[in-house]
């Protein structure tokens, strides 16, 4: 089965991103294909490399990065949502005159078309949100 996963909330505030992670991991471990994980709304905040969660808590960003490295996952942050919320890669920094970036490795910023495409190409779209 080919899956698309949509994540609507940021890390820690809502459990939605935890659920999305555990679901995606379970699907990959069962041998399913995850076509793309699309981060929308506050979900784009999953893609910052600047978090420092407490030592005794999970590291939500790093978990995504490690999963992406292991399975070559496509982690896409919606560009419009990222701009509103301050998620920046090199290209965005240049286009919008920002003096820093904060995107984590393995994440990329792209348009909403990537969500539509994922929904079309995949057998199932699974949405996690508040």
């Amino acid at each position: 089965m080919k899956l698309a996963v949509q994540v609507n909330e940021g890390p820690y505030q809502h459990q939605a991103t935890d659920s999305a992670y555990h679901f995606t991991k379970a699907a990959l471990e069962k041998g399913h294909e995850v076509f793309r994980v699309f981060f929308y709304h506050d979900g784009v905040l999953n893609g910052t490399r600047l978090t420092t969660p407490p030592q005794d808590d999970r590291n939500i960003v790093n978990r995504w990065v490690e999963l992406a490295e292991k399975y070559d996952l496509d982690l896409v942050l919606c560009v419009a949502a990222a701009q509103r919320r301050g998620l920046v890669d090199d290209g965005e920094a240049q286009r919008n005159g920002k003096d820093a970036t904060n995107i984590a490795p393995k994440f990329r910023i792209s348009g909403l078309g990537q969500l539509i495409e994922a929904a079309i190409q995949s057998d199932r779209l699974v949405v996690f949100g508040d």
């Binding site: 609507n8 709304h41 078309g113 969500l115 539509i116 929904a119 779209l125």
Partner: protein, 135 residues
Amino acid sequence: MSDIKKFMYLNRRAPYGTIYAWESLEVVLIGAAFDQQVSLMFMDDGVFQLVKGSDTSQSDMKNFLPTYRTLGDYGVRHLYVDKASLEARGLTTDDLIEVAWEDFETEEEVDNIVEAVDADQVVQLMAESEVVFSF
């Protein structure tokens, strides 16, 4: 497998209090480029998204009500509104905006694609959809 799928966008939240209504609309607009069969379903507080007369001039927020009116031009075929949700909120379809639709090739026109539906129809319409986007 055909590349034309039946998309349903499910809107259950009021506008302005949260951004979901607006960002959901942005997906619909972008999605128009992909030529799917698209309908929107409004229920619970989502029905408030279509109420006429929104004025954000004192809110410093963007008024996106006019954008709904253009949805017919973006390939959206149906805006369904759950009747029971309207009734609980003291609303009728007269309180809602109208959205026109025209097929530019066949010149087929529909004056208003906003339609109130009862629970059985909602069940049926959802079941027929192939992808549901929830916000």
